[in-house]
């Protein structure tokens, strides 16, 4: 009798949370599948959609630009920025972990400074970088022209040769602190004895890094890669607010394509189809990635 009453109480306490999660995650994800099979605009009610079978998917995949958009998303937006974040993040974390900083009493200061980009909202980070990279009066161009490296300002965000590198720089800058902080916590959990034993065996810095630091960091690196890939792949703001997908559709990614399709072309069904494709890609990635890292461990 008591157990039944206590579990009723547990359900009552969880009810508000469960209703909200069901209303805004569970139900919409199922509804997204239905929408992807319908033709419907933002001005129609939810029941007014017309069934089109796989029409939306044909439409999305039939877009001659679809594959370049997918390639942008996978390579430029996600793979490259995650790789750069891991490399720079690891270097910075190792530097910040060094006893040298503690000896000079600058450890706390250095760790605070490295966090600053993370404290800045993404939209603000984009605004600041657009100003830095501004073609005429941006500080980067002032320096380039002033030092005679270029004759006139470079329109970093308007030409195809520089636009992706600019977006990559913004993402790496804003999202680096997360990687540094997690890797730093990972470094701190490695026992000193392992390094002492290695140095007794005559292992140098690089050898110790390869045979102690990296293997110990593997589980943390796995999680960092998984989390950053999923978050970046689905990110809409960086591309949308720097270039709007331009010049032309040169920097368009799946998330911006979803948004323009649904709310500019008024094809909510096609937008839902892109969303479903994105979910599938991430699900497949997550499964393959976790399987790959697990078999490596065995």
């Amino acid at each position: 009798m008591t157990t039944r009453r206590t579990s009723l109480q547990a359900y009552l306490l969880s009810a508000p949370a469960l209703v909200i999660v069901a209303l805004l995650f569970l139900f919409p994800s199922i509804y997204n599948v239905i929408l992807s099979l319908q033709e419907i605009s933002p001005f129609q009610g939810p029941g007014d959609g017309e069934w089109t079978g796989l029409g939306n998917f044909e439409y999305v995949f039939g877009n001659p630009e679809f594959w370049s958009i997918a390639r942008n998303t996978v390579f430029w937006l996600t793979a490259l920025t995650v790789l750069l974040r891991i490399v720079f993040g690891l270097a910075l974390a190792v530097a910040l972990h060094s006893p040298v900083l503690r000896r000079w009493k600058v450890r706390g200061l250095a760790r605070t400074l490295v966090l600053i980009p993370w404290m800045v909202p993404q939209v603000v980070a984009i605004a600041s970088w657009r100003w830095l990279l501004d073609g005429s009066s941006g500080v980067l161009n002032q320096v380039l022209v002033g030092s005679g490296l270029t004759d006139s300002g470079v329109a970093f965000l308007a030409q195809t040769s520089t636009v992706w590198w600019s977006i990559v720089a913004i993402i790496v800058w804003r999202e680096l602190p997360f990687v540094v902080m997690v890797l730093l916590a990972g470094l701190q959990s490695i026992p000193d004895e392992q390094y002492e034993a290695a140095s007794l065996d005559g292992a140098g810095g690089i050898r110790a890094f390869r045979s102690i630091t990296l293997p110990n960091l593997r589980p943390v690196l796995t999680v960092v890669v998984l989390v950053t890939v999923i978050q970046t792949f689905n990110n809409f703001v960086y591309v949308w607010l720097t270039t709007g997908g331009g010049p032309g559709t040169y920097t368009a990614v799946l998330a911006t394509e979803l948004y323009s399709m649904a709310f500019f072309a008024n094809k909510l069904g096609a937008g839902a189809a892109i969303g479903l494709v994105m979910t599938m890609i991430m699900a497949v990635f997550a499964v393959l990635y976790m399987r790959a890292t697990r078999t490596e461990d065995q």
Partner: protein, 299 residues
Amino acid sequence: MSTVTQQEGAPAPSRLRARRRDSSARRASDLVLLVPLAVVLLAIIFPVLWMVYSALRPVQDIAAGVSWSTLLDNISLDAFARLFEATNFEQYIVNSLLVCLVGTLCTVIVASLAGFALSRYSFRGRGAMFLLLVATQLLPFVVLITPVYLFFSQLGLLNSYPGIVLVYVAMTLPLAVLLMSGFFNGVPRTLDEAARMDGASTLTVIARVIAPLVWPGIVTVSVTAFIAMWEEFLFAQVFLTDDSLKTAQVGLAGLFGEYGTDWGVVMAASTIAAAPTIILFSFLQRRLVAGVAAGAIKG
């Protein structure tokens, strides 16, 4: 024991000299790490310094570009004045504060109740609930925009505070529930059982006995939720199209002009839009970082 420490505490003069020479050599080699690190850190904080600095320059200086000789000559609040004159930015800030404060309060209350249930009861579906909360973390948020838009348009929740608050609570809730149940697990059960013996109801136990004990945890959850809501752009942009309802981030994004941007104004707005997160972050830096790091390492 004491003789040993005494011996170590007073080394022979020759050894002392050797150690000094050793440490100065070490200090010189330290610079090999410290100098590049300082350069990298300066480069990392430069965009933020430049943002604040640009916001504090008068309009003619911004247009004229960088002049290194007069870098610190003219500092003014002119750009902020222009921002508030030309736009409804004060309204956007009020909107953001309102939405984020109400949203944070709702998240913390709802998450506390559910977190308590997960921490204190074993009930059917408890495992499924955990799984659901973790799964929502992996679901791309951008995918929800289309179905939720249609759903909200039907319910009349577009262009309304309750609508966006609901989205923001949902966005921050799963992690908040998981964190709160973890904090509650740290409080011994005997405490709430004792309070129950004295006839306290479940809600009284949560509010009067448990909440004061996990206060630091509640602050952490509130700050993380507030920051996430304050920063959010996509849903605010799509769901709040009335100018009087826009949030600070949406207002800021709207300042990128189609015919030339007034960068002083944009940087003034950026500084304001970044201020709450920077302030909250600085107060709780250590705890927030520890929380994020622990989450990633355990996960």
